[in-house]
Structures are given as structure tokens and as C-alpha cells.
Amino acid sequence: MDYKNIQTICPYCGCGCALNLEVIDGEIVGVLPANDHPVSQGSLCIKGWNAHAFVGHEDRLKKPLIRKNGQLEEVSWNEALKLVAKNLGSIQKKHGADSIGVLTSAKCTNEENYLLQKFARAVIGTNNVDHCARL
């Protein structure tokens, strides 16, 4: 049995509490608060204590999906990425970069947000970049 304790940050609210994910054999089995963290100081709210609960939910998407004949069907990464690249490219060529919009995410990391806005601005060529924080 392999037991690990990984300190990370709660995915729920902006307090940014640190928490420890307890991992046994590659599966998260529980959450423990982090004692030495300046905000959480060894406690968590009910959302933090359940931070891992949705991670292993059966509804998690496990493969890329493409709509075929009106239905979303599982496909390979290669097929999905080729299609996205081809369509983004042809729409950008035909209708211009500003016909494309990109939403970054208040739930993704800084690095991911950085990369997606870089993609929108440097590859597509548009400043149509926003996220749902106002909502």
C-alpha cells in the first residue's frame, strides 16, 4: 500500500485555504487541513473537507467528444485536436480573428489562464478574451 499526503489549494472559494489530499494507491481517500497555513490555520469549511468528492465522480469526462449526427461521440485526442485546429483555422481565415472568442477560467490555474490568453492573442490574433468572474 502506497500512502501519500499532498498539500494543495482548495478548489472552491477565493479564501485559498491549503489542504492535504490523502492518497492511497493512486486514489484520494480524504482531506486533512493544513496546520501551518496562514489562512486555514488547521481548519476548513464543509466545502474544503469535501474538496475531493467530485474528483472521482463517475460523470467525469474521460475521452474527447465530437458531435456526429447530432450526438456527442467519444473520439481520440488526435481526431479531436485535428478538428478543432482545422475549424479554428478556417473560421479565422474566412471571418477574421475577431469572429472568435475565448473564455479563460476562474477555476483553472494561473499558468493555464496565461497560456489560453496567449493562444487567443498570439495564435488566433484577437483580444476577445474574458472569463465568467463578472457572472
Binding site: 486555514s40 499558468e111 497560456l115 463578472r134
Partner: protein, 561 residues
């Protein structure tokens, strides 16, 4: 936030408005409760009774949409009672005369007419706030989600500056961000007008810096060309882009052809979702990258499976500008991939250079090189458990626990005289009640994550509307458990909770539930500057829903009498 979460504990007064702190930001409310235990005064301004309002020294129940009025009213009292901080105003600010003129008419009596807050309560609250040595303002979406959202925020800043509550520990204006990395998404340039670090897209020097760094111009000023799939980007655009609200609108009219959405669910979060759905369905091509098949992903053409927070490395930035490491605990579920990897792969597929990152740590190095407020961050420093709040411009900088210490970023702090404007939609004969929406403790935002967490969903499994007993009698709820709430835009059916937690004339619906989505009712009229829809105020009516059991009872009762 101008200040840090731990500082709340040492405030002498905390003014909370538009934030249900104990439910939406539990561990911030803990700090405020500690402050109270140490003798701080707590003032809550909110149309609903909340846990915080119960422990507050004063609870002012304002009519939704009247925030500019009561804040101007507090400033009117503070100026007239001689409680303004003249030294701070003199040394650190400009525009005081404009402010003074603008608030002159907002006497407590006039404010009572607009907001329903008793004049003597307003005076008491103004004194409590202004007489404290260190007073902190806390607000959340209750302040920003109005057509006057920007005015509301400026009003809070006016109030803090007027009393010198800026640039010191335990003071300031502290917006609490709802989702865990809203702060980071903004900091990283997830906005139509700025690059990372709030550097303007319209500034030619900034544009040149990013063109060089991103390989769009070569060292000697030449322009690079791209590969065949796209028209190559030969210079970064200096045109401010579209906001999410505009993107959705223009998708409807056909000008926007494609949306690429990472980890967002605008079909639940957007105001007036029926309309938003129609707009998004009109797109030529919709790509959604997410961990679940959200309402938005369901109508997408391509759905890419992202990895959850537990399956990747990276950083999140908390609401007090604290950048912290996220560490991978397990492998991604199924074939899902971290969002940064997906973007890397897609960019390469499109023939773009500059997307060869092998780890988030490498991406952070690029962020630090291009973003002055993040200039001092590296995984090395963060790993050592350092608490580093931006601005943190270089590798030696200790970070910034509170902003505006000796000067404001623009130099002098500017007072803005703000006029009161009524909400876009007010209750009338057809729609006699005012709806306000919000969060509850056990769920998170559109419910995608929390409603799949069994323990959280069990606490509050279904949607409900809170209604005051007086209004419940008028509507004739009388035993009916379910009602239909309708506005000019849509209707939903849901359970009722009759409670005097809410102000008469106002009803409250939490927005986490897809099957009775409050945002089917809300108004998409938005603030002209910030473009935030007015979620917090719209006019609705309530009708009872036919209840078979109740009808049988009534029938048999009638037949017997």
C-alpha cells in the same frame, strides 16, 4: 483585496455589504468573528438576515439597488459630523469638493426614502465606521452585480478614503472573489483589455514587448509568418476585445462564429440563460474544455476532457493576491489532460511556436518575465512555503500584504462624486416583488462540482425561494410547497421557504440549481463599464403551483361543508 485575510482579525470595525460571508467565504468570516470577539464593531448592510448580520452590532436592510444612496448618505453624515480624515484627504487624495457636493443632498432622511434604511441606523453606522481606528470594508457580488456596479465599487473606495482607511493594516476595500482563481484569471490577462498584470492592450510599448516575447516580431523588427492553417498573426491587436456578455450577444447575431470555452459554464452562470442558449446554439463551432459535461458542453461541437485540480501542478491566486502552489496528487482520470497541456497540444497542431512548455513551472517563468506584478515569483520560492502577495516585482521582494501604503498606483487617490440611479427594473403591478439571487454554504457557483459531492448535495438538494411571511400571505402560499416564479424573461418552478430572514417585498433564490435556474429570470441589463449583468435586482411575481394533495384536501373539505 487591498488588504490581507489575516488582517481582518485586528480591525476595529468591519463593514460588510453584499457578501454572505459566512456561507460564501467561511474562513474569512472566522476572522471577522475573531475581530468581534476582540471588541470590533460589525456593521452589515444586506436585504437578508445572514449569520453575519445576526452577530453584527448593526444590521441595515436596504432595498436592493440602493447602494449608492446609502453609501453617499454615510459620507454625508461623516462630513457633517466632522468625522472625515482631513489629513489623509489633504495629503493623499484629490476631488474632495466634487464628492462633498455630490453627497450633500443625501441626508439620512432622503436616504431612508430610497433605501428603506431608518435614518437613525444610518447615522449610527456612519459613526461606527468613521470613529474606528482601523475600519475595513468587505463586499462581494452583492455590490458588483448591478447596473451601477462600478458606481457601487467607487462609492466604497470614496468611503474608505474619506476616513483615511486605506494603506494601513486592517483597513481598505476588500472584494471577496467567489471562485477560487478569479483573481488569477484576471491577473493573467483573462480580460479583453489587458495582457497579464493589467498591462493595456492599447499601449504601444506594451504591445511591442509582447510581440517580441511571443515571437511575433523578430529581434531585428521583422515579422514572422505562421503555418498554413491560419492567417499568420503579424502584429498583436491593439483593439479592446469583447466581454463574455458581448460575445454571447454577438454569437446570437452571427458576428461571433466560434467560442472556445475553458472550464466555464456560461449557460448556467449567464443572466437570462434561455436567451444565452439560443445565442450559443447559433455559433458555427463551439469548443468546451471541462471536467464534466456541463450545460454548455452539452451543446458543444467538441468537448475536451480537462484534468481536475487534484491531477495537476500550477498556481492559484487567492482573493488577497496570495499566489500559492497547486500540487498534483493523482494521475488524470481516464484520458483527461491538464488544461495547459491541451492548449499546448492544440497550439502545436496549428503550427504555432512558443508553446513547447514541459511543465507549469516553465510557464510561470515566462509569466514572471513579462508581468511586473508577478516578476518575483518562481516555484522555487513558493515551494519554501513563502506567502507572497503581489505586487512582488523581483526575486528579493517580500510581497505586499496591503496596497496603497504611501501612494496610490495613480499617485493621488481620486474621489468620484456619484449620482444615485434606480435599478434597471423595479417592482410594479405586474411583477410586484424584487428578486435577488445569491450563494449558499453547501454549494458552489453553478453546482457543477458541489452538486456531485454527495455530502454537500444532501444538505440542500433542491432549489427554493425565500419569501417573507407578509408576502407569502398575499401570494396565498398557505400550505402550497411549490410555486412558480416568473419575470419578463422566463419562469421556474421551485419550493418555498417562508422566512422573516428576508425583507418584505424582496425574494431570494440561490443560483446553484440547473432544474430551477434563477438566471432564467434575471435581467441581462448590465453595467455600462464593467458589463456585469444586474443579477441582484429584477422584478418577479409568484403564483402557487397546483398541488394535487392539497386540492384533494380542499375538495373534500368543501364537499363536507
Amino acid at each position: 483585496m487591498t488588504n490581507s485575510i489575516p488582517e481582518f482579525e485586528d480591525a476595529d470595525c468591519v463593514l460588510i455589504t453584499g457578501s454572505n460571508t459566512s456561507e460564501a467565504h467561511p474562513l474569512i468570516s472566522t476572522r471577522i468573528m475573531r475581530a468581534k470577539a476582540k471588541g470590533a464593531k460589525i456593521v452589515v448592510v444586506d436585504p437578508r438576515t445572514t449569520q453575519m448580520s445576526l452577530l453584527a452590532n448593526l444590521h441595515l436592510k436596504q432595498q436592493p439597488g440602493s447602494d449608492v444612496a446609502w453609501i453617499n448618505g454615510m459620507m454625508n453624515v461623516i462630513i457633517n459630523e466632522g468625522l472625515a480624515d482631513d489629513v489623509f484627504i489633504e495629503k493623499r487624495t484629490e476631488g474632495f469638493d466634487e464628492l462633498k457636493a455630490a453627497v450633500a443632498e443625501f441626508t439620512p432622511e432622503y436616504v431612508e426614502e430610497i433605501s428603506g434604511i431608518p435614518a437613525y441606523d444610518l447615522v449610527a453606522a456612519a459613526k461606527m465606521y468613521a470613529e474606528a481606528d482601523a475600519a475595513s470594508i468587505v463586499y462581494s457580488m452583492g455590490i458588483t452585480q448591478h447596473i451601477t456596479g462600478v458606481d457601487n465599487v467607487l462609492s466604497c473606495a470614496n468611503l474608505a478614503m474619506l476616513t483615511g482607511n486605506m494603506g494601513r493594516p486592517s483597513t481598505g476595500v476588500n472584494p471577496l472573489r467567489g471562485q477560487n482563481n478569479v483573481q488569477g484569471a484576471c491577473d493573467m490577462g483573462g480580460l479583453p483589455n489587458v495582457y497579464p498584470g493589467y498591462q493595456k492592450v492599447s499601449d504601444p510599448d506594451i504591445q511591442a514587448k509582447f510581440e517580441k516575447a511571443w515571437g511575433i516580431r523578430t529581434e531585428n523588427g521583422g515579422r514572422k509568418t505562421g503555418s498554413g492553417l491560419l492567417s499568420p498573426v503579424t502584429g498583436l491587436s491593439d483593439k479592446v476585445g469583447l466581454t463574455v456578455t458581448e460575445m454571447v450577444e454577438l454569437a446570437g447575431s452571427g458576428e461571433v462564429k466560434t467560442l472556445y470555452i475553458m472550464g466555464e459554464n456560461p449557460l448556467m452562470a449567464d443572466a437570462d440563460i434561455n436567451h444565452a442558449k439560443k445565442c450559443l446554439k447559433n455559433l458555427d463551432f463551439l469548443v468546451v474544455q471541462d471536467i464534466f459535461l456541463t450545460e454548455t458542453a452539452e451543446i458543444a461541437d467538441v468537448v475536451l476532457p480537462g484534468a481536475s485540480f487534484a491531477e495537476k501542478d500550477g498556481t492559484f491566486t487567492a482573493t488577497d493576491r496570495r499566489v500559492q502552489l497547486v500540487n498534483q496528487a493523482i494521475e488524470p482520470v481516464g484520458e483527461s489532460k491538464a488544461d495547459w497541456e491541451i492548449i499546448n497540444m492544440l497550439a502545436k497542431e496549428m503550427g504555432a511556436s512558443g508553446f513547447d512548455f514541459s511543465s507549469p513551472e516553465e510557464i510561470m517563468a515566462e509569466i514572471a518575465a513579462l508581468t511586473p506584478i508577478y516578476g518575483g515569483y518562481s516555484y522555487e520560492r513558493l515551494k519554501n512555503g513563502n506567502v507572497l502577495q503581489w505586487p512582488c516585482p523581483d526575486a528579493e521582494h517580500p510581497g505586499t500584504p496591503y496596497l496603497h501604503k504611501d501612494k496610490f498606483s495613480r499617485g493621488l487617490g481620486k474621489f468620484h462624486g456619484i449620482e444615485y440611479k434606480a435599478p434597471a427594473e423595479s417592482a410594479d403591478d405586474d411583477y410586484p416583488l424584487t428578486l435577488t439571487t445569491g450563494r449558499i454554504m453547501f454549494h458552489f457557483h453553478t453546482g457543477t462540482m458541489s452538486r456531485r459531492a454527495e455530502k454537500l448535495n444532501k444538505e440542500v438538494p433542491e432549489a427554493y425561494v425565500e419569501i417573507h411571511p407578509e408576502d407569502a400571505i398575499k401570494v396565498g402560499i398557505n400550505g402550497h410547497k411549490r410555486v412558480t416564479v416568473s419575470s419578463r424573461r422566463g419562469e421556474i418552478e421551485l419550493a418555498t421557504r417562508v422566512t422573516d430572514r428576508i425583507k418584505p417585498g424582496v425574494v431570494f433564490i440561490p443560483f446553484h440549481f440547473a432544474e430551477a435556474a434563477a438566471n432564467a429570470l434575471t435581467n441581462s441589463a448590465f453595467d455600462p463599464v464593467a458589463k456585469i449583468p444586474e443579477y441582484k435586482v429584477c422584478a418577479v411575481k409568484i403564483q402557487t403551483t397546483a398541488d394535487p394533495v392539497l386540492e384533494v384536501c380542499n375538495e373534500s373539505y368543501k364537499s363536507k361543508n
